[in-house]
Symmetry: D2
Subunit: 129 residues, 4 copies
Protein backbone atom coordinates (compact mmCIF):
# COMPACT_ATOMS: atom_id res chain seq x y z
CA UNK A 1 0.00 0.00 0.00
CA UNK A 2 1.25 3.40 -0.89
CA UNK A 3 -0.02 5.97 1.51
CA UNK A 4 1.20 8.80 -0.62
CA UNK A 5 -0.71 7.89 -3.75
CA UNK A 6 -3.70 5.85 -2.58
CA UNK A 7 -6.89 7.79 -2.44
CA UNK A 8 -8.02 8.62 1.06
CA UNK A 9 -10.54 6.17 2.48
CA UNK A 10 -14.16 7.16 2.20
CA UNK A 11 -15.58 8.40 5.50
CA UNK A 12 -17.22 5.56 7.37
CA UNK A 13 -20.95 5.96 6.76
CA UNK A 14 -21.75 5.24 10.39
CA UNK A 15 -19.68 8.13 11.75
CA UNK A 16 -21.42 11.43 11.05
CA UNK A 17 -18.93 14.23 11.45
CA UNK A 18 -21.36 17.02 12.02
CA UNK A 19 -24.87 17.66 13.25
CA UNK A 20 -26.27 17.84 9.72
CA UNK A 21 -25.14 14.30 8.99
CA UNK A 22 -26.53 13.18 12.34
CA UNK A 23 -29.86 14.79 11.54
CA UNK A 24 -30.07 12.99 8.19
CA UNK A 25 -29.26 9.67 9.72
CA UNK A 26 -31.87 10.05 12.45
CA UNK A 27 -34.43 11.08 9.87
CA UNK A 28 -33.74 7.88 7.91
CA UNK A 29 -33.82 5.84 11.08
CA UNK A 30 -37.28 7.06 12.06
CA UNK A 31 -38.66 6.83 8.52
CA UNK A 32 -37.46 3.26 8.06
CA UNK A 33 -39.33 2.24 11.22
CA UNK A 34 -42.44 4.36 10.68
CA UNK A 35 -41.79 6.09 13.98
CA UNK A 36 -42.36 9.69 12.89
CA UNK A 37 -45.82 9.62 14.39
CA UNK A 38 -44.31 9.19 17.88
CA UNK A 39 -41.85 12.01 17.29
CA UNK A 40 -44.00 15.05 17.98
CA UNK A 41 -41.94 17.91 19.44
CA UNK A 42 -43.82 17.46 22.72
CA UNK A 43 -42.81 13.80 22.94
CA UNK A 44 -39.22 14.45 21.87
CA UNK A 45 -38.79 17.20 24.46
CA UNK A 46 -40.08 14.72 27.04
CA UNK A 47 -37.72 11.98 25.88
CA UNK A 48 -34.85 14.46 26.02
CA UNK A 49 -35.40 15.32 29.68
CA UNK A 50 -35.76 11.65 30.57
CA UNK A 51 -32.31 11.07 29.05
CA UNK A 52 -30.94 14.17 30.78
CA UNK A 53 -32.08 12.62 34.07
CA UNK A 54 -30.41 9.30 33.29
CA UNK A 55 -27.25 11.31 32.72
CA UNK A 56 -27.67 13.24 35.97
CA UNK A 57 -28.37 10.05 37.90
CA UNK A 58 -24.71 9.07 37.56
CA UNK A 59 -23.71 12.20 39.46
CA UNK A 60 -26.45 12.53 42.04
CA UNK A 61 -24.60 11.21 45.09
CA UNK A 62 -21.08 12.15 44.00
CA UNK A 63 -19.18 15.11 45.30
CA UNK A 64 -18.12 17.62 42.67
CA UNK A 65 -14.56 16.33 42.94
CA UNK A 66 -15.70 12.75 42.43
CA UNK A 67 -17.64 13.85 39.37
CA UNK A 68 -14.36 15.10 37.86
CA UNK A 69 -12.75 11.69 38.17
CA UNK A 70 -15.21 9.04 37.01
CA UNK A 71 -14.10 5.42 36.86
CA UNK A 72 -13.81 4.17 33.24
CA UNK A 73 -16.98 2.08 33.25
CA UNK A 74 -19.04 4.97 34.58
CA UNK A 75 -17.49 7.28 32.02
CA UNK A 76 -18.52 4.88 29.24
CA UNK A 77 -22.09 4.83 30.54
CA UNK A 78 -22.11 8.62 30.79
CA UNK A 79 -20.89 8.86 27.18
CA UNK A 80 -23.92 6.82 26.11
CA UNK A 81 -26.26 9.11 28.02
CA UNK A 82 -24.65 12.19 26.48
CA UNK A 83 -25.23 10.61 23.07
CA UNK A 84 -28.90 9.95 23.89
CA UNK A 85 -29.41 13.59 24.81
CA UNK A 86 -27.70 14.74 21.61
CA UNK A 87 -29.75 12.41 19.42
CA UNK A 88 -33.05 13.66 20.80
CA UNK A 89 -31.83 17.25 20.62
CA UNK A 90 -30.93 16.92 16.93
CA UNK A 91 -34.16 15.11 16.18
CA UNK A 92 -36.26 17.71 17.99
CA UNK A 93 -34.54 20.61 16.20
CA UNK A 94 -35.18 18.83 12.91
CA UNK A 95 -38.87 18.32 13.63
CA UNK A 96 -39.19 22.02 14.48
CA UNK A 97 -37.15 23.23 11.51
CA UNK A 98 -34.59 24.88 13.80
CA UNK A 99 -30.91 25.21 12.83
CA UNK A 100 -29.07 24.04 15.94
CA UNK A 101 -25.71 25.50 14.92
CA UNK A 102 -27.18 28.91 14.22
CA UNK A 103 -29.11 28.85 17.50
CA UNK A 104 -25.97 27.86 19.44
CA UNK A 105 -23.87 30.55 17.78
CA UNK A 106 -26.50 33.18 18.56
CA UNK A 107 -26.69 32.09 22.19
CA UNK A 108 -22.93 32.16 22.71
CA UNK A 109 -22.76 35.64 21.22
CA UNK A 110 -25.57 36.73 23.54
CA UNK A 111 -23.76 35.28 26.56
CA UNK A 112 -20.56 37.07 25.58
CA UNK A 113 -22.43 40.36 25.51
CA UNK A 114 -24.31 39.62 28.73
CA UNK A 115 -21.26 38.62 30.74
CA UNK A 116 -18.32 40.76 29.57
CA UNK A 117 -15.13 38.99 30.60
CA UNK A 118 -13.46 42.11 31.96
CA UNK A 119 -16.40 42.84 34.23
CA UNK A 120 -17.32 39.43 35.57
CA UNK A 121 -13.87 37.86 35.90
CA UNK A 122 -13.35 36.78 39.46
CA UNK A 123 -16.70 38.14 40.54
CA UNK A 124 -18.75 35.12 39.63
CA UNK A 125 -21.68 37.24 38.71
CA UNK A 126 -24.38 34.91 37.36
CA UNK A 127 -23.29 32.35 39.91
CA UNK A 128 -23.93 34.49 42.98
CA UNK A 129 -27.26 35.97 42.15
Amino acid sequence: MNAATDPPPAPAPEAPHDLDALRERLRDFAAARDWERFHSPKNLATALIVEAAELLEHFQWLTEDESRALPPETKAEVATELADVLLYLVRLADQLGIDLHAAAAAKIAANERKYPADQVRGSARKYNR
Copy 2:
Protein backbone atom coordinates in the same frame (compact mmCIF):
# COMPACT_ATOMS: atom_id res chain seq x y z
CA MET B 1 -18.84 52.21 1.72
CA ASN B 2 -20.16 50.69 -1.47
CA ALA B 3 -22.25 47.67 -0.76
CA ALA B 4 -22.32 46.66 -4.40
CA THR B 5 -18.56 46.42 -4.89
CA ASP B 6 -17.18 45.70 -1.45
CA PRO B 7 -16.04 42.15 -0.98
CA PRO B 8 -18.43 39.98 0.97
CA PRO B 9 -17.74 39.99 4.69
CA ALA B 10 -15.65 37.18 6.09
CA PRO B 11 -17.72 34.58 7.90
CA ALA B 12 -18.42 35.84 11.38
CA PRO B 13 -15.90 34.25 13.74
CA GLU B 14 -18.70 33.75 16.25
CA ALA B 15 -20.45 31.12 14.15
CA PRO B 16 -18.86 27.75 14.88
CA HIS B 17 -19.73 25.21 12.23
CA ASP B 18 -19.19 22.05 14.18
CA LEU B 19 -19.14 20.74 17.73
CA ASP B 20 -15.35 20.96 17.96
CA ALA B 21 -15.43 24.68 17.25
CA LEU B 22 -18.25 25.09 19.74
CA ARG B 23 -16.24 23.24 22.36
CA GLU B 24 -13.24 25.51 21.85
CA ARG B 25 -15.32 28.62 22.07
CA LEU B 26 -17.01 27.51 25.29
CA ARG B 27 -13.63 26.63 26.75
CA ASP B 28 -12.36 30.14 26.01
CA PHE B 29 -15.56 31.65 27.36
CA ALA B 30 -15.24 29.90 30.72
CA ALA B 31 -11.49 30.54 30.98
CA ALA B 32 -11.85 34.26 30.27
CA ARG B 33 -14.32 34.55 33.14
CA ASP B 34 -12.57 32.21 35.57
CA TRP B 35 -15.71 30.06 35.69
CA GLU B 36 -14.09 26.64 35.33
CA ARG B 37 -14.42 26.09 39.05
CA PHE B 38 -18.22 26.13 38.74
CA HIS B 39 -18.13 23.72 35.81
CA SER B 40 -17.74 20.39 37.57
CA PRO B 41 -19.45 17.59 35.65
CA LYS B 42 -21.99 17.32 38.46
CA ASN B 43 -22.93 20.98 38.15
CA LEU B 44 -23.00 20.92 34.36
CA ALA B 45 -25.26 17.85 34.30
CA THR B 46 -27.54 19.75 36.68
CA ALA B 47 -27.53 22.89 34.54
CA LEU B 48 -28.29 20.74 31.50
CA ILE B 49 -31.46 19.27 32.98
CA VAL B 50 -32.59 22.69 34.16
CA GLU B 51 -32.34 23.90 30.55
CA ALA B 52 -34.07 20.73 29.29
CA ALA B 53 -36.96 21.61 31.60
CA GLU B 54 -37.14 25.18 30.31
CA LEU B 55 -37.38 23.65 26.85
CA LEU B 56 -40.09 21.22 27.94
CA GLU B 57 -42.04 23.97 29.68
CA HIS B 58 -43.00 25.39 26.27
CA PHE B 59 -44.76 22.13 25.42
CA GLN B 60 -46.29 21.11 28.74
CA TRP B 61 -49.88 22.15 28.12
CA LEU B 62 -49.89 21.77 24.34
CA THR B 63 -51.39 18.87 22.49
CA GLU B 64 -48.97 16.93 20.31
CA ASP B 65 -50.51 18.56 17.25
CA GLU B 66 -50.07 22.02 18.71
CA SER B 67 -46.45 21.20 19.42
CA ARG B 68 -45.94 20.56 15.70
CA ALA B 69 -47.14 24.06 14.81
CA LEU B 70 -45.54 26.56 17.18
CA PRO B 71 -46.17 30.26 16.63
CA PRO B 72 -43.00 32.08 15.47
CA GLU B 73 -42.23 33.78 18.77
CA THR B 74 -42.52 30.49 20.68
CA LYS B 75 -40.32 28.81 18.10
CA ALA B 76 -37.65 31.48 18.60
CA GLU B 77 -37.73 30.93 22.36
CA VAL B 78 -37.54 27.17 21.86
CA ALA B 79 -34.51 27.63 19.60
CA THR B 80 -32.76 29.46 22.43
CA GLU B 81 -33.55 26.65 24.85
CA LEU B 82 -32.27 24.05 22.40
CA ALA B 83 -29.06 26.07 22.17
CA ASP B 84 -28.72 26.17 25.95
CA VAL B 85 -29.01 22.40 26.15
CA LEU B 86 -26.43 21.96 23.40
CA LEU B 87 -23.96 24.36 25.03
CA TYR B 88 -24.06 22.53 28.35
CA LEU B 89 -23.88 19.19 26.59
CA VAL B 90 -20.74 20.19 24.68
CA ARG B 91 -19.20 21.72 27.79
CA LEU B 92 -19.93 18.64 29.88
CA ALA B 93 -18.48 16.28 27.28
CA ASP B 94 -15.37 18.45 27.16
CA GLN B 95 -14.93 18.42 30.93
CA LEU B 96 -15.21 14.63 30.92
CA GLY B 97 -12.94 14.13 27.90
CA ILE B 98 -15.73 12.45 25.94
CA ASP B 99 -15.95 12.69 22.13
CA LEU B 100 -19.60 13.57 21.52
CA HIS B 101 -19.55 12.69 17.83
CA ALA B 102 -18.04 9.28 18.46
CA ALA B 103 -20.51 8.61 21.27
CA ALA B 104 -23.45 9.63 19.07
CA ALA B 105 -22.26 7.49 16.16
CA ALA B 106 -21.84 4.48 18.46
CA LYS B 107 -25.32 4.96 19.91
CA ILE B 108 -27.01 5.25 16.51
CA ALA B 109 -25.28 2.09 15.36
CA ALA B 110 -26.43 0.33 18.54
CA ASN B 111 -30.01 1.49 17.98
CA GLU B 112 -29.92 0.26 14.39
CA ARG B 113 -28.88 -3.17 15.60
CA LYS B 114 -31.39 -3.17 18.46
CA TYR B 115 -34.39 -2.16 16.37
CA PRO B 116 -34.00 -3.76 12.90
CA ALA B 117 -36.20 -1.80 10.52
CA ASP B 118 -37.67 -4.89 8.86
CA GLN B 119 -38.78 -6.29 12.22
CA VAL B 120 -40.12 -3.24 14.00
CA ARG B 121 -41.72 -1.36 11.11
CA GLY B 122 -45.34 -0.75 11.86
CA SER B 123 -45.16 -2.67 15.09
CA ALA B 124 -43.97 0.18 17.25
CA ARG B 125 -41.95 -2.14 19.40
CA LYS B 126 -40.08 0.02 21.90
CA TYR B 127 -43.11 2.32 22.02
CA ASN B 128 -45.60 -0.29 23.21
CA ARG B 129 -43.61 -2.00 25.89
Copy 3:
Protein backbone atom coordinates in the same frame (compact mmCIF):
# COMPACT_ATOMS: atom_id res chain seq x y z
CA MET C 1 -60.94 -15.28 67.66
CA ASN C 2 -63.94 -13.14 68.37
CA ALA C 3 -64.11 -10.20 66.08
CA ALA C 4 -66.83 -8.56 68.12
CA THR C 5 -64.97 -8.40 71.39
CA ASP C 6 -61.30 -8.39 70.47
CA PRO C 7 -59.74 -4.98 70.66
CA PRO C 8 -59.11 -3.39 67.32
CA PRO C 9 -55.59 -3.89 66.02
CA ALA C 10 -53.14 -1.10 66.61
CA PRO C 11 -52.49 0.97 63.52
CA ALA C 12 -49.62 -0.58 61.60
CA PRO C 13 -46.52 1.44 62.49
CA GLU C 14 -45.38 1.32 58.88
CA ALA C 15 -48.31 3.35 57.57
CA PRO C 16 -47.76 7.03 58.31
CA HIS C 17 -51.00 8.90 57.93
CA ASP C 18 -49.60 12.35 57.35
CA LEU C 19 -46.50 14.13 56.12
CA ASP C 20 -45.24 14.73 59.64
CA ALA C 21 -45.19 11.02 60.36
CA LEU C 22 -43.51 10.40 57.03
CA ARG C 23 -40.87 13.00 57.83
CA GLU C 24 -40.10 11.35 61.16
CA ARG C 25 -39.81 7.94 59.62
CA LEU C 26 -37.45 9.14 56.89
CA ARG C 27 -35.35 10.93 59.49
CA ASP C 28 -34.99 7.68 61.45
CA PHE C 29 -34.27 5.77 58.27
CA ALA C 30 -31.37 8.03 57.29
CA ALA C 31 -29.99 8.24 60.82
CA ALA C 32 -30.00 4.47 61.28
CA ARG C 33 -27.90 4.10 58.12
CA ASP C 34 -25.63 7.09 58.68
CA TRP C 35 -26.79 8.54 55.37
CA GLU C 36 -27.39 12.14 56.47
CA ARG C 37 -24.08 13.16 54.94
CA PHE C 38 -25.39 12.27 51.46
CA HIS C 39 -28.61 14.16 52.06
CA SER C 40 -27.54 17.72 51.37
CA PRO C 41 -30.38 19.78 49.91
CA LYS C 42 -28.46 19.95 46.63
CA ASN C 43 -28.26 16.16 46.40
CA LEU C 44 -31.87 15.64 47.48
CA ALA C 45 -33.16 18.12 44.89
CA THR C 46 -31.14 16.18 42.32
CA ALA C 47 -32.51 12.83 43.47
CA LEU C 48 -36.02 14.27 43.34
CA ILE C 49 -35.77 15.26 39.68
CA VAL C 50 -34.27 11.89 38.79
CA GLU C 51 -37.35 10.24 40.30
CA ALA C 52 -39.64 12.74 38.57
CA ALA C 53 -38.07 11.64 35.28
CA GLU C 54 -38.59 7.96 36.06
CA LEU C 55 -42.23 8.87 36.64
CA LEU C 56 -42.44 10.83 33.39
CA GLU C 57 -40.77 8.02 31.45
CA HIS C 58 -43.93 5.94 31.80
CA PHE C 59 -45.87 8.59 29.89
CA GLN C 60 -43.38 9.78 27.29
CA TRP C 61 -44.71 7.92 24.24
CA LEU C 62 -48.34 7.70 25.34
CA THR C 63 -51.09 9.92 24.05
CA GLU C 64 -52.89 11.95 26.68
CA ASP C 65 -55.85 9.60 26.41
CA GLU C 66 -53.65 6.57 26.91
CA SER C 67 -52.17 8.23 29.98
CA ARG C 68 -55.67 8.38 31.48
CA ALA C 69 -56.10 4.61 31.17
CA LEU C 70 -52.93 2.89 32.34
CA PRO C 71 -52.83 -0.90 32.48
CA PRO C 72 -52.72 -2.16 36.10
CA GLU C 73 -49.05 -3.15 36.09
CA THR C 74 -48.01 0.26 34.74
CA LYS C 75 -50.21 1.95 37.32
CA ALA C 76 -48.47 -0.01 40.10
CA GLU C 77 -45.06 1.09 38.80
CA VAL C 78 -46.25 4.68 38.55
CA ALA C 79 -47.48 4.52 42.16
CA THR C 80 -43.97 3.55 43.23
CA GLU C 81 -42.47 6.47 41.32
CA LEU C 82 -44.98 8.87 42.87
CA ALA C 83 -43.92 7.55 46.27
CA ASP C 84 -40.24 8.10 45.45
CA VAL C 85 -40.90 11.72 44.54
CA LEU C 86 -42.89 12.26 47.73
CA LEU C 87 -40.21 10.70 49.94
CA TYR C 88 -37.46 12.94 48.55
CA LEU C 89 -39.77 15.95 48.74
CA VAL C 90 -40.53 15.35 52.41
CA ARG C 91 -36.87 14.66 53.17
CA LEU C 92 -35.71 17.80 51.37
CA ALA C 93 -38.26 19.98 53.15
CA ASP C 94 -37.10 18.52 56.46
CA GLN C 95 -33.43 19.21 55.73
CA LEU C 96 -34.30 22.81 54.89
CA GLY C 97 -36.63 23.32 57.83
CA ILE C 98 -39.57 24.06 55.56
CA ASP C 99 -43.17 23.21 56.54
CA LEU C 100 -44.55 21.51 53.43
CA HIS C 101 -48.19 21.81 54.44
CA ALA C 102 -47.88 25.51 55.15
CA ALA C 103 -46.04 26.08 51.86
CA ALA C 104 -48.69 24.14 49.93
CA ALA C 105 -51.54 26.02 51.59
CA ALA C 106 -49.88 29.35 50.81
CA LYS C 107 -49.35 28.39 47.19
CA ILE C 108 -52.94 27.26 46.67
CA ALA C 109 -54.21 30.49 48.16
CA ALA C 110 -51.89 32.43 45.83
CA ASN C 111 -53.16 30.48 42.83
CA GLU C 112 -56.75 31.14 43.82
CA ARG C 113 -56.04 34.87 43.88
CA LYS C 114 -54.01 34.77 40.65
CA TYR C 115 -56.59 32.85 38.63
CA PRO C 116 -60.06 33.96 39.83
CA ALA C 117 -62.52 31.26 38.80
CA ASP C 118 -65.09 33.69 37.45
CA GLN C 119 -62.53 35.32 35.18
CA VAL C 120 -60.57 32.37 33.83
CA ARG C 121 -63.37 29.80 33.50
CA GLY C 122 -63.52 28.65 29.93
CA SER C 123 -60.78 31.02 28.87
CA ALA C 124 -57.89 28.76 29.75
CA ARG C 125 -55.77 31.72 30.69
CA LYS C 126 -52.47 30.36 32.01
CA TYR C 127 -52.69 27.58 29.45
CA ASN C 128 -52.77 29.82 26.39
CA ARG C 129 -50.05 32.28 27.21
Copy 4:
Protein backbone atom coordinates in the same frame (compact mmCIF):
# COMPACT_ATOMS: atom_id res chain seq x y z
CA MET D 1 -61.30 45.29 68.58
CA ASN D 2 -59.41 44.09 71.59
CA ALA D 3 -56.64 41.77 70.65
CA ALA D 4 -56.06 40.72 74.21
CA THR D 5 -59.56 39.46 74.92
CA ASP D 6 -60.93 38.47 71.54
CA PRO D 7 -61.07 34.75 70.95
CA PRO D 8 -58.36 33.40 68.70
CA PRO D 9 -59.39 33.25 65.05
CA ALA D 10 -60.66 29.96 63.73
CA PRO D 11 -58.09 28.07 61.69
CA ALA D 12 -58.18 29.38 58.14
CA PRO D 13 -60.28 27.00 56.04
CA GLU D 14 -57.71 27.28 53.28
CA ALA D 15 -55.03 25.44 55.23
CA PRO D 16 -55.44 21.73 54.52
CA HIS D 17 -53.75 19.62 57.16
CA ASP D 18 -53.26 16.47 55.17
CA LEU D 19 -52.90 15.23 51.62
CA ASP D 20 -56.55 14.23 51.40
CA ALA D 21 -57.67 17.77 52.10
CA LEU D 22 -55.12 19.06 49.61
CA ARG D 23 -56.45 16.68 46.99
CA GLU D 24 -60.02 17.88 47.52
CA ARG D 25 -59.02 21.49 47.30
CA LEU D 26 -57.08 20.98 44.07
CA ARG D 27 -60.01 19.07 42.62
CA ASP D 28 -62.31 21.98 43.38
CA PHE D 29 -59.76 24.45 42.01
CA ALA D 30 -59.53 22.69 38.64
CA ALA D 31 -63.27 22.09 38.38
CA ALA D 32 -64.12 25.73 39.11
CA ARG D 33 -61.86 26.79 36.24
CA ASP D 34 -62.78 24.03 33.81
CA TRP D 35 -59.13 22.98 33.71
CA GLU D 36 -59.59 19.22 34.06
CA ARG D 37 -59.11 18.80 30.33
CA PHE D 38 -55.51 20.06 30.63
CA HIS D 39 -54.82 17.74 33.54
CA SER D 40 -54.13 14.47 31.78
CA PRO D 41 -51.62 12.34 33.70
CA LYS D 42 -49.12 12.89 30.89
CA ASN D 43 -49.39 16.67 31.20
CA LEU D 44 -49.31 16.63 35.00
CA ALA D 45 -46.18 14.44 35.05
CA THR D 46 -44.62 16.96 32.67
CA ALA D 47 -45.63 19.93 34.81
CA LEU D 48 -44.23 18.14 37.86
CA ILE D 49 -40.75 17.75 36.38
CA VAL D 50 -40.77 21.36 35.20
CA GLU D 51 -41.39 22.42 38.81
CA ALA D 52 -38.75 19.97 40.06
CA ALA D 53 -36.28 21.73 37.75
CA GLU D 54 -37.26 25.16 39.04
CA LEU D 55 -36.54 23.79 42.50
CA LEU D 56 -33.19 22.34 41.42
CA GLU D 57 -32.21 25.57 39.68
CA HIS D 58 -31.75 27.22 43.08
CA PHE D 59 -29.05 24.68 43.93
CA GLN D 60 -27.29 24.20 40.61
CA TRP D 61 -24.19 26.33 41.22
CA LEU D 62 -24.08 25.97 45.00
CA THR D 63 -21.74 23.70 46.87
CA GLU D 64 -23.41 21.09 49.03
CA ASP D 65 -22.47 23.13 52.10
CA GLU D 66 -23.97 26.28 50.64
CA SER D 67 -27.16 24.34 49.92
CA ARG D 68 -27.43 23.58 53.64
CA ALA D 69 -27.40 27.27 54.55
CA LEU D 70 -29.70 29.12 52.19
CA PRO D 71 -30.29 32.84 52.72
CA PRO D 72 -33.87 33.55 53.89
CA GLU D 73 -35.15 34.92 50.57
CA THR D 74 -33.84 31.89 48.68
CA LYS D 75 -35.38 29.61 51.28
CA ALA D 76 -38.76 31.30 50.78
CA GLU D 77 -38.51 30.79 47.01
CA VAL D 78 -37.50 27.17 47.50
CA ALA D 79 -40.52 26.64 49.77
CA THR D 80 -42.77 27.82 46.94
CA GLU D 81 -41.12 25.40 44.50
CA LEU D 82 -41.52 22.53 46.97
CA ALA D 83 -45.19 23.43 47.19
CA ASP D 84 -45.55 23.42 43.40
CA VAL D 85 -44.07 19.94 43.20
CA LEU D 86 -46.38 18.70 45.97
CA LEU D 87 -49.48 20.19 44.34
CA TYR D 88 -48.82 18.50 41.00
CA LEU D 89 -47.92 15.27 42.77
CA VAL D 90 -51.21 15.21 44.68
CA ARG D 91 -53.17 16.18 41.57
CA LEU D 92 -51.49 13.49 39.46
CA ALA D 93 -52.11 10.80 42.07
CA ASP D 94 -55.75 11.87 42.20
CA GLN D 95 -56.18 11.71 38.43
CA LEU D 96 -54.70 8.20 38.44
CA GLY D 97 -56.69 7.00 41.44
CA ILE D 98 -53.51 6.29 43.42
CA ASP D 99 -53.37 6.59 47.22
CA LEU D 100 -50.19 8.58 47.83
CA HIS D 101 -49.96 7.72 51.52
CA ALA D 102 -50.32 4.01 50.88
CA ALA D 103 -47.75 4.16 48.08
CA ALA D 104 -45.29 6.06 50.27
CA ALA D 105 -45.75 3.65 53.18
CA ALA D 106 -45.18 0.67 50.87
CA LYS D 107 -42.04 2.23 49.43
CA ILE D 108 -40.52 3.03 52.82
CA ALA D 109 -41.17 -0.51 53.97
CA ALA D 110 -39.52 -1.81 50.80
CA ASN D 111 -36.48 0.43 51.37
CA GLU D 112 -36.19 -0.77 54.95
CA ARG D 113 -36.07 -4.35 53.74
CA LYS D 114 -33.69 -3.56 50.89
CA TYR D 115 -31.17 -1.65 52.99
CA PRO D 116 -31.05 -3.29 56.44
CA ALA D 117 -29.60 -0.73 58.84
CA ASP D 118 -27.24 -3.21 60.52
CA GLN D 119 -25.73 -4.17 57.18
CA VAL D 120 -25.41 -0.87 55.38
CA ARG D 121 -24.51 1.42 58.28
CA GLY D 122 -21.24 3.13 57.53
CA SER D 123 -20.81 1.25 54.30
CA ALA D 124 -22.86 3.59 52.15
CA ARG D 125 -24.04 0.76 49.99
CA LYS D 126 -26.53 2.24 47.50
CA TYR D 127 -24.40 5.37 47.33
CA ASN D 128 -21.23 3.63 46.16
CA ARG D 129 -22.61 1.42 43.48
